[in-house]
Amino acid sequence: MIDSEPLPRGAMASLPAGSVRPGRGFWRESWDELRSNRAGMASAAVLCLLVAIALAAPAVSAVVTHYGPTQQDLGHAFEGPSRLHWLGTDELGRDTLTRLVYGARVSLGVGFLTVAIALTVGAAVGLLSGYYVGLLDDVLMRVVDVVLSVPPVFLYILMSILFRPNAITLAVIIASIGWAGLARLVRSEVLSLRSRDFIVATRSLGARDARLILRHVLPNALPVMIVAASLGLGQVVLIEAALDFLGLGIQAPTPSWGDMLSNAQVYFVHSTWLVVLPGSLIFLTVLAANVLGNAVRDAFDPRLRRF
């Protein structure tokens, strides 16, 4: 029952110099660790494939399926898979495969954009808040508290009614809440960095705040941000799909997986396919994003680093 225990902190220092692996640097080591994680790499491959499909959607529509995403064919509604429609058709005779492929654009596009916005804002707030502490920190962190206190579902609903979102506004809406958690995370990392010797030393050499933040604090806070961003992607895809499903996200007739499910809900006695397919793709995307996120966390989070 006795597990091998990790070495206590500081144990490295007491080891004879020759027994320590030659340093490969943090990034090199993390990258190697990530690449040796099979589940993580498989997930990355799945995500890359989905991105490729999303980017190639018009080509797939023109060359493979020969149908447009909103092209109706009322004479062939609710058909099962056939040579003409590989994955069947929906209530308006629209080709399911074409719509699924276009749906990937919405899910992944909004997903990546949201993470990018939330990360940029969250990192900026976290860096400023953690670096300058004092009044600025107090004000910013109270704002974060407030944003995290309102149940997000209601804010999404309100803002969706207000903005009638397209892909970009939808990303802004989801990011307008997502940044807060990231800001809190980055701040606590910066707080622990700012009193370290190397920052104090650099400041004593006369480095200005901007240089300290951008050249010294930011790179050291980067691992935490990378981990948070990769774990956030799956969440964002889920939220986006749920908003589409509720009719509050991307507006019809633009095909999205959530919207397809919402249509299928009405007609699913006619066609089980229409329920199973879009949901499976959401599930697959989120699963791949989460597994990759876990792998990135294991590889990049310095606090989990095994020596």
């Binding site: 206190s149 309102v150 609903i157 009614i161 799909a241 809900q265 699913f268 699963l287 989460n290």
Partner: protein, 344 residues
């Protein structure tokens, strides 16, 4: 202890103010200058519209409207300062007095609608939390005790998968299987929507049948996240010195695990469950919509589609107050369980 509670209460106050400010500003930018139908009525002169707006107090400065809305207006009035707020209109009680506004559609008080739906939502979420917890603890403990085994790997994979399943999709699949297909196969089937049968419903069995599917979806989600938590917490606890001491004393493995380790491993769950308290009200929105469950989430969703801003704002504020109180309660409970928290 009292000092700790007071300190936590004081930090909650500015947050609550911020929450009401955000909801108020959103409402203002969405609907602030809008009184339903006014601009569309050809019989109204601009001066009439201005008069109606003035009567409603919409011509006052934003800050005054805000103070009035949260209920400071009535406070001013009580101490004879109503003149500061301007206008001769009747000052409604505000949020501080428990008035969360009136519906734009039928004028009914928001709080009454929310309280009317609250029992249904609580029935759904409380069931899900209890079921999720009852399953998560044993699953997490078994995983931790057999760390690395096939069973542990399976449970880990299942929980990672459970985390990635969209709730609304799981709901649709369950409806498809247990309501549609079971019905088609002539098996006993479960109702797919509502909380009770429209005709002659309302008995215990009827309610449980309606509760089964939506509660399963929610409980599945809780199970996925909490079982991971119990597992890692249990693994950490089992490596503590006092567990080794207990074993070294010759205490039975069963007693070591279930009496000494389990209690300490599960204690932090209190915080997680406390964080779910606001979810008692809002977390079930998507599930309520899929299953037509007449709870607060469905109310907010339906009213939002009807552009009933004031109701949605009222519900949002109400839920936000619950979030702050839920966090507070979780912190206090945790301080009761773990005395170290109080003194840090």
């Amino acid at each position: 202890m009292a000092g700790y509670v007071v300190r936590r209460l004081l930090t909650a106050v500015p947050v609550l103010f911020g929450v009401t400010l955000i909801t108020f500003l959103l409402m203002h930018f969405t609907a602030g200058n809008y009184v339903p139908g006014l601009q569309l009525d050809p019989n109204l002169k601009p001066s009439d519209i201005a008069r109606i707006r003035a009567n409603l107090g919409l011509d006052r400065p934003l800050i005054v409207q805000y103070l009035d809305w949260i209920g400071i207006g009535a406070l001013f009035k009580a101490v004879g300062l109503a003149g500061v707020l301007g206008g001769s209109h009747n000052i409604d009680p505000g949020i501080l007095e428990g008035n969360f506004g009136r519906s734009l559609i039928d004028g009914s008080p928001v709080l009454a609608s929310v309280l009317g739906r609250l029992p249904n939502t609580l029935e759904l979420t409380a069931t899900a939390i209890v079921v999720g917890l009852a399953l998560a603890v044993p699953v997490g403990v078994v995983s931790a005790l057999r760390r690395g085994s096939r069973l542990d790997q399976f449970l880990t994979a299942a929980s990672v998968a459970g985390f990635a399943v969209p709730q609304f999709w799981l709901g649709l699949l369950l409806i498809l299987l247990f309501s549609v297909e079971f019905h088609a196969w002539g098996l006993p089937w479960l109702p797919s929507s509502g909380a009770v049968s429209p005709l002659g419903g309302g008995g215990v069995v009827d309610r449980l049948q309606h509760l089964a599917l939506p509660a399963t979806v929610l409980a599945f989600f809780y199970l996925s996240s909490w079982s991971r938590f119990v597992r890692s917490s249990m693994i950490e606890t089992l490596s503590q010195d006092y567990v080794r001491t207990a074993r070294a004393k010759g205490m039975s493995e069963r007693r070591t695990v279930y009496v000494h380790a389990l209690r300490n491993a599960v204690a932090p769950l209190v915080t997680l469950i406390g964080l779910e308290l606001p979810g008692l009200v809002s977390g079930a929105l998507v599930v309520e919509v899929v299953f037509g469950w007449p709870g607060i989430g469905l109310l907010a969703f339906q009213r939002a589609l009807q552009y009933d801003y004031t109701t949605v704002m009222g519900i949002t504020t109400f839920a936000a107050v619950l979030v702050v109180l839920g966090n507070l309660l979780a912190d206090v409970l945790y301080a009761v369980i773990d005395p170290r928290v109080r003194y840090s």
